[in-house]
Symmetry: C2
Amino acid sequence: MELGAAADEAFAGEDTFAEDDRPSTWKAGARSQATHCRANSRRGMTDAIRPSYPPVESVRRALEILRILNRLRICTVGDIHAATRLPKPTIVRMLDTLIADGYVVRDNMCGGYRVTHRVEELHAGYKGIAEVIEASRPFSVDLTNAIKWPVGIGTLDGDAIAVQFWTGTISPWVHANTLLHNRPNLLTSAMGRAYMAFCGEEERAALFAMIRAGSNGSFGSEREAQHNVLLASVRKQGFAIRAPQTEPRRNTTVAMPICHKGTVLASITVSFFISAVPRNKVEEQIIEPLRQAVNKIETVIAFMRRGGASEVDGAVSDCPLDV
Amino acid sequence: MELGAAADEAFAGEDTFAEDDRPSTWKAGARSQATHCRANSRRGMTDAIRPSYPPVESVRRALEILRILNRLRICTVGDIHAATRLPKPTIVRMLDTLIADGYVVRDNMCGGYRVTHRVEELHAGYKGIAEVIEASRPFSVDLTNAIKWPVGIGTLDGDAIAVQFWTGTISPWVHANTLLHNRPNLLTSAMGRAYMAFCGEEERAALFAMIRAGSNGSFGSEREAQHNVLLASVRKQGFAIRAPQTEPRRNTTVAMPICHKGTVLASITVSFFISAVPRNKVEEQIIEPLRQAVNKIETVIAFMRRGGASEVDGAVSDCPLDV
DNA sequence: GTATGAGTTTCGCATTGCGAAATTCTCGTA
DNA sequence: TACGAGAATTTCGCAATGCGAAACTCATAC
């Protein structure tokens, strides 16, 4: 397996791994059979959680009416009644509520009711990490179920990466500590390297300038040039590996970018124990499955953004690769 | 006043208008002092309307929580509590409701709650006519209050224009009939001409192809070429005038495009009686005020789309002008 | 293992939201 | 102008729905 010089370095000292040394379930894994867990749990999945309350009917109705307004654009009470079968006084009450809080106006100059700019506040947070997680989650969970190693997703946040999603909650081969809310370093982490390798040149220059400004002279043009060589290699390979000196040294991380139309949205990683995966199996067991998951994720994102949907399987990454 | 050949033609037969022939208030105008009117009224303004019901508190709370989720992206119950001061069981109840209807998911892999793609349905209708009306309304109402003539706004809808906003409800100089829901012809109406003159070349070609296909041979390349000459003149002048043979002949209409970054969003018009405005006063009393309103509207739209806001007054239209 | 805090559940209560019926407004037509 | 039909809005009696303090349970940190 050809991983490049940096990648070879990551595996220094670990040549083989005996079959009986493979990690089985650990302390954390012992709780992975819980039927459900809470939103703040580091083990298990919230998927099977039962609701504490029945849905509030008035809320559902108001949101349904708001959806109709968005679909039909300019509506009369009669239009909404025809679309929803809700009683007209109920419709007027909900409209009065939406009007009171600024989401809708009643305007005879357009002949009915229409939404206002305020509805932007009801969706503006979706673009970004929420969208990336939504697109990535099923494939990440599948990947962890398949390869057993945890998958993480992080986004650029100022001068570091913010890890905002981590399937370690369901991975049998994981330490109890979480990666969630970690802020891996842009230069040394796999996430940071993947991000910087694939973002635009101007953005990369700006990031280098920020790193240089914050380094008190310890990061100069020589180290930047070296790092650029490393990033070029990352682009050539299509993935990044964590700097080998990073603690804990028993682990390493492979990262790839999630892109849409040439823009890096996030970095996605698989973390694993160096001793658990033979060096000649990393491509097959880690990198290739991760690459396939990234392709699926990018396809779904393109579809959701109506960038020309193709089938979920088999789509090609939009990231610039030096091939 | 230089209005061009087509514009001169619109005024054929009407040279002057005696001061005492100016229309005063008419039947419709007699009701314009109503304190408020309903959403389906063709006279008056809904602005002063009193709500029929107090706002529904649970709806307001759910929407407030949804706004926080969009602002903070990934939230815990504690985050929402800190931002809203709502009791935590209330927050959980609202979240359960939003989860039940698919707008939000609880996910321990990201450490809290996040919005889903479904929130797009709560805003998707804003982009388009709702946004244009919202930006245009105050300036259109001001314009009608200043010049007394009704302002209309229409958008392309298949093979015609759909008039979707009309200040005739408050204009003292207007016939009882409304323009709302009218579908002016693309070739003969001022709105249609303004739209076609300023839309992109590909779109215009497609529109011509559609017109030709629907004309049973009566609209051929010769008439298209003639119309293109007229449209070039419209672009040169910055406004379009209704074809003079259009009924009722006592009226005419001046239209301009509302554009954003070179795209025509809508057409906006002032309609007036030919006999009421001297030909040498049309520029001053109609065209120039309308142009100023359009500039303001486009500035507001650019600001709301964060396309580089400048002050509301004095912004330059983004429309391509042959100058 | 313990303490603290976060998230979730319970249950008595009353207010808030509901909608059938009535009223009023608006438009279209003669 | 008058009338009829339909659209939009208002009224008001009622009970179910939503509320939240208190309690409970889970999860993390040390």
